[in-house]
């Protein structure tokens, strides 16, 4: 049986990869410095302009899985499917910026969100954030390297492992020396490639497949649910669980925090607004290829929905355009992978070494060494996980839950002076425990027990709505929205949500951690002075202070106890 995919020759594939990774490597040489500044290695100057910041934020948020999943969602749920992936993902970028402005105001010199939590609470809450990011970024690396292996093995004679290894080494090569500075500069070129190609191939596929009339005829193939733009199935099975998951992902994620701490403070809002529009347009747009496949009656190869986009590209694009599509996939996965490498290195440098090992006496040279070694180890871990195609579903589920449980404690810690370290820690642990019970159905979700968990989930829904309103409209609006959403959800969820385990568990993670955090905070007498955070979070190295022969000059770091 003939393959449904176009095949490049080995030489063409290697040339395309050489052009991409060679080009990004050469670009990284433009910002390379013999003696990298340790702060610059993690967050650049903290004064990065709008163009680079918006490009970097958009490119980082779009990974290969984004448009594969958007297309799968469109193919499964019809007209609204791509929206239920791309719109919610985009909304979360928008949702972060008011909180990002607060993080930046509290800790203008921070490198990681964990560092901010260390200054606010101490080690345990910081290390919870660090752990969630180490797991999350390792998984993300694996997923992106896997995507490289998949696209290389589908479109060329090279094997899956060849693709994985080339992507891993290529990404490491241009990120290794200059870290975050190389990551955000190369993001500009990667985003231009990614968006430029997306702009061309979406209409190209449409007209090449027969144009508007043929697409409209395909509407007859849709089921009633697929043809309904407000499909309840699409909302409950795709939109709502993804919305809840991606909210958690956005708040605790170091790749985003790093960009928040790098952009010039007054440019946070335009940067995130632009990234919201850019992400939404590209991901929903590429998701339209899945809708077109549905309208044309295309069957995914081997029943795997991830094959839809390469199949459609092979069927309806000329070879040159398939080459551009190949670069689109490589650009999207590389921009996210390099962000994960720099996030992991910043976490090991700041959260592990500087704050918990050196304890205020961090040596900038040692920090750089740790950062670079972290990148090598992380790449190797990503390559091994991807090459052996290990089953990481359980790990993925736990990381998602961990992020869900940190959302409220992190945000509350930045606004409410009564939140304590133990309230933060117990909120996360309690949330994780209840999440595990629901997600793995350790108790029957029926009767009083089921109703109890549904009520906790209703609080979780209230927290999501309340926090979103709080970020944009302030405390009163946030509290009102949270209360109304909780009451409406409680009425709607009772006896109903236990049929949707994934959504129930995710909302329980939010709800339980919030209830515990609020209860313990109300019992405390703490009244934290937020001005202390800026005093405790300092740069690690004096700017341009490298006397000959003496090496970089470290800045003394105050500890939370001081």
């Amino acid at each position: 049986m003939a393959s449904p995919y176009y095949q490049f020759t080995t030489t063409t594939t290697l040339l395309l990869l050489l052009v991409f990774y060679g080009g990004t490597f050469l670009m990284s040489l433009l910002v390379r410095q013999k003696n990298e500044n340790v702060d610059g290695y993690m967050v650049s100057s903290g004064q990065v302009g709008f163009g680079i910041s918006a490009a970097s934020m958009t490119a980082t948020w779009i990974w290969a899985a984004s448009f594969y999943a958007a297309a799968s969602s469109a193919y499964t749920y019809g007209l609204s499917g791509a929206i239920h992936y791309g719109f919610w993902g985009a909304l979360m970028i928008l949702f972060i910026y008011p909180f990002g402005q607060r993080f930046r105001k509290l800790a203008p010199n921070a490198h990681t969100l964990g560092e901010l939590m260390h200054a606010r609470h101490g080690s345990s809450s910081q290390l919870i954030l660090a752990l969630s990011n180490v797991l999350g970024s390792s998984i993300s690396l694996m997923v992106n390297f896997t995507a490289a292996g998949a696209v290389v093995s589908i479109l060329s004679p090279l094997s899956f492992v060849h693709g994985v290894v080339i992507a891993g080494i290529g990404t490491l090569a241009y990120t290794f020396w200059s870290g975050f500075r190389a990551s955000i500069l190369t993001d500009v070129a990667q985003l231009i490639a990614l968006m430029g190609v997306a702009v061309i191939i979406i209409p190209w596929v449409m007209f090449s497949a027969g144009g508007p009339e043929v697409m409209a005829q395909g509407l007859e193939r849709l089921t009633a649910e697929q043809a309904d733009f407000f499909s309840t199935t699409a909302i409950l099975e795709q939109g709502a669980p993804f919305f809840v998951a991606v909210l958690a992902y956005a708040i605790g994620n170091q790749t985003i925090a790093q960009r928040l701490f790098a952009v010039r403070q007054d440019l946070i809002k335009p940067t995130f607004l632009t990234a919201t529009l850019g992400y939404g347009a590209v991901v929903i747009g590429l998701g339209m290829i899945g809708l077109m496949a549905l309208l044309l009656g295309v069957q995914p190869d081997g029943g795997d929905l991830n094959n839809i986009i390469p199949q459609m590209a092979s069927a309806y694009l000329p070879p040159f355009m398939i080459g551009l599509f190949f670069l689109l996939v490589v650009a999207s996965l590389s921009s996210t992978a390099d962000a994960d490498l720099t996030a992991l290195s910043a976490i090991m440098m700041t959260d592990v070494y500087a704050k918990n090992i050196a304890k205020g006496r961090a040596d900038p040279r040692k920090m750089l060494l740790i950062g670079r070694l972290t990148m090598i180890v992380a790449t190797m871990v990503g390559l091994i996980l991807a090459s052996f195609a290990l089953d990481i579903l359980v790990m993925l589920v736990f990381v998602g839950a961990l992020w869900g449980t940190v959302v409220f404690p992190v945000i509350a810690s930045c606004y409410w002076p009564r939140v304590t370290n133990s309230a933060f820690t117990w909120a996360v642990l309690g949330g994780m425990l209840l999440f595990t019970i629901v997600r793995f159905e350790l108790l029957p979700m029926t009767g009083v027990i089921g109703l109890g968990f549904e009520m906790i989930a209703a609080v979780g829904a209230g927290v999501v709505a309340g926090l979103m309103c709080f970020g944009f409209f302030g405390r009163i609006a946030g509290l009102a929205a949270g209360l109304i959403a909780t009451m409406v959800s409680a009425w709607y969820f009772a006896g109903f949500l236990n049929g949707y385990t994934v959504l129930l568990a995710s909302l329980v993670a939010y709800g339980a951690s919030t209830i515990i955090c609020v209860a313990l905070s109300l019992m405390s007498q703490e009244h934290f002075d937020f001005n202390l955070i800026a005093q405790r979070v300092q740069r690690f190295q004096e700017e341009d202070a490298q006397p000959a022969g003496n090496g970089p000059v470290a800045v003394p770091q105050p500890s939370p106890a001081e």
Binding site: V31, S45, F50, G51, A54, G196, T274, G278
Partner: protein, 43 residues
């Protein structure tokens, strides 16, 4: 859904992407010029 609205629904996203791409590229060149004038690195 009519043919017009289906076409609009599919093609509005690449059009929006092109607009955002233009804004970002323009911003990048402005960053580059500002850094050059100030005699500092862009990143």
């Amino acid at each position: 859904m009519t043919t017009f609205w289906l076409t609009f629904y599919i093609l509005i996203w690449p059009a929006l992407s092109a607009l955002v791409l233009f804004v970002i590229v323009r911003g990048f060149f402005r960053d580059m010029l500002a850094a050059k004038r100030a005699g500092r690195d862009m990143v």
